[in-house]
Amino acid sequence: MTVTRTKAEAAPVASVPSSPEPKRLRLNRWDAKYTPYLVIAPFFVVFGIFGLYPLVHTAWVSLHDWQLIDGNQGFVGLANYAELFGDANFWNALFNTLSLFVLSTVPQLLAALGLAALLDRGLRGRAFWRAGVLLPNVISVAAVALVFAQFFGRDFGIVNFLLGLVGIDPIDWRAETWASHLAVSTMVMWRWTGYNALLYLAAMQSVPKDMYESATLDGASRWRMFWSITVPSIRPTILFTVVTSTIGGLQLFAEPALFDPGFAANNSTGGSDRQFQTLVLYMYEKGFRLFDAGYAATIAWMLFLVVLLVAIINFSLTRRIAGKG
């Protein structure tokens, strides 16, 4: 608002060359030019302190033999990175991270899309349903993990009980790789599907209704309308959720950590054979249990690069897919 008004006022004055600029106006111009920067500056200052500095410092630490308590033990160059690339546990953690990410994110976003489409129709008690889908997200992750860990209990878990009813032998959810991934993904999906559904719903409501009306006149089916009108129209939101889910999904920590009963005893490796140890869990093990901060920093930087890479791939993929319509 300030900006437009100032421009309009300043223009005629500036066209009179000899008269000195009134002080107030000069101030106004300064105001117009720099205020926007000042207003967004706090974000960048805070980001610089809490985001950029740790990022750079972490890179610095990763080039050293750095013990958590005793600090810098000397510059080692890229030795930590070299070790990391030959570290089977790192590749295992990377595989687990990507597997958990795919297993939880893909069904989650598809389910959210479907859920949003349902909520977008004239349901009775709309507000109730809409608030309802967000509930899993506001419950603390610790509570969710606690409950799900019991659901997936080996001896007395409800999931095994239900499987038993249809004649399936009990599954040791923490012992098997695929079973543990499934269980952890369920937890993630439970927490985030509703949240993404609400984002989609908000976007869907801004799709012009007359588009649907004319499509109906043309005899398009609901399914066809959904894929040809709704999805392309909410493309920016889909891109946004894909990127945020990528970032969140690849940094998975709390769910697998709390799924491992050993975590509280501080000897967690994400399963007896690292079946569900994600990159962040591995970083935690190295940094906070083994006190090897240099190596943990190296993992952190690799994770950063992985997230960046996957986010870019996902972004361009989604843009292409959603853009086709």
Partner: protein, 420 residues
């Protein structure tokens, strides 16, 4: 309007930046001491008394969960600020922190060596380094070790139920394994023990040298005793005699309530956890007896003073007072935390103390004698890095993922890496 906005933005910034720096000196001229603890040390009343008798001192307790406590302390020591004036170090991690002793005050400088005779020898030694020259921490409680067992389940399996008789069943761990076989033959649906991991830990803790020789060199691969302990525990796992449970986890609690295992290695502090997990319905069903192989210890803590403390002298005085025999005895009476000082655990009140829930077991006497007969293991600096590797290996055996031999091979490789 916009100028005011700029002003307020600047003000907010200043506030954000200023919030990062807090003061720590007392406004009323009192010396402020903080105590960084985990779980219940039973200090609440004692601290009030101490403040009443020392009018110039104000004490604040910070209690967090144990795993959080350790990582927090590590980062605070690294950062050089934020640690409490007195911090608790648990027995399992004390060797790890011992490696960073230059971040702690050598309590010998304050005369701690004069107190040496208060503690049972091994407890004192665990808290010192450099051949006893550097006193890192003063001992608080100890865990000691017994075996808790279900009387009703033993009876169903046709075994003795009286605690003296049960103790005679297993003078050694080989005998313990034999009892397990007898038990499983009679009642195949009940697990004999909750986890093989703790059996392994208990056996290993009775050897003088475990993963590391007394000169701190890594010897796990050539120490036959490590292999023997592993094989013994793995055999229980292979025969499906263990519940493959993580001790003190939710699943463990449920298993307690369902009565699905019959024995567990139990330090003094775990009695309360067993009671909480098994519930009132199991009152009198659990009992405590001595562990095979002669004594043991699991857990117990030390009070140490980080070098960053502004009042090391006052902190030392407080730590000394809190760990003195009179106070240890009071804590035992209030919380049941087992004293680590012969004078206290030899006291009639401790010796005659019985636990009603555990079928009136004379737990004071059982745990005191177990601690007395203990010849503790030397714990290497990297013990806490190496140890868990063997624990997860045993879990793999229990889960049926690996044979005992494969699990051992993998564990040894991981341990050698961790010990580098």
């Amino acid at each position: 309007m916009s100028r005011r906005l700029v002003g307020s933005v600047a003000a907010t910034l200043v506030m954000v930046l200023a919030a990062g720096c807090g003061g720590s000196s007392g406004a009323d001229g009192k010396i402020e001491l903080s105590l960084g603890l985990f779980s219940d040390f039973g200090y609440d009343k004692l601290i009030e008394e101490y403040m009443a008798s020392h009018s110039n001192i104000k004490i604040e307790q910070r209690k967090v969960k144990m795993e959080q406590h350790n990582t927090q302390l590590a980062t605070q020591l690294a950062g050089g600020r934020g640690a409490a004036d007195i911090v608790a170090l648990e027995e399992g991690v004390v060797s790890q922190f011992r490696a960073s002793k230059d971040k702690f005050v050598n309590l010998a400088e304050h005369g701690a060596k004069d107190l040496k005779s208060q503690w049972v020898d091994w407890k004192w030694n665990q808290g010192t380094t450099d051949g006893g020259e550097f006193v890192l921490g003063l001992g608080t409680d100890m865990g000691s070790l017994g075996i808790c067992y279900r009387r009703d389940l033993f009876e169903a399996a046709g075994l003795a139920t009286d605690r003296e008789a049960v103790a005679k069943l297993w003078p050694t761990w080989e005998d313990y394994a034999k009892v397990a076989d007898q038990f499983t033959a009679k009642t195949p649906n009940v697990k004999f023990v909750d986890t093989g991991r703790n059996v392994y830990k208990a056996i290993l803790d009775q050897t003088e040298e475990g993963y590391f020789a007394k000169d701190d060199s890594y010897i796990a691969e050539k120490n036959a005793k490590v292999k023997a302990a592993f094989d013994m525990a793995a055999a229980l796992g292979t025969k499906k005699q263990t519940g493959a449970l993580e001790p003190f986890s939710q699943d463990w609690n449920v298993a307690l309530k369902q009565g699905s295992f019959a024995t567990t290695t139990c330090p003094a502090w775990s009695l309360a956890l067993i009671k909480a997990g098994a519930g009132d319905a199991a009152a009198g069903k659990w009992d405590v007896t001595t562990a095979p192989g002669g004594g043991g210890n699991w857990g117990g803590s030390f009070l140490a003073i980080p070098k960053q403390s502004k009042h090391p002298k006052e902190a030392y005085e407080l730590a000394k007072w809190l760990t003195a025999p009179e106070q240890q005895k009071r804590i035992f009476k209030e919380t049941g935390n087992l004293p680590s000082q012969p004078k206290v655990y030899g006291d009639a009140e401790v010796q005659t103390f019985v636990n009603d829930y555990f079928n009136k077991a004379p737990v004071g006497k059982i745990f005191a004698s177990s601690a007395e007969s203990l010849k503790p293991t030397y714990r290497g600096t990297k013990d806490s890095k190496v140890g868990p590797v063997f624990g997860t290996a045993l879990t793999r055996v229990e889960q049926g993922k690996q044979s005992a031999a494969d699990a051992w091979t993998q564990a040894l490789k991981e341990a050698t890496d961790a010990a580098k």
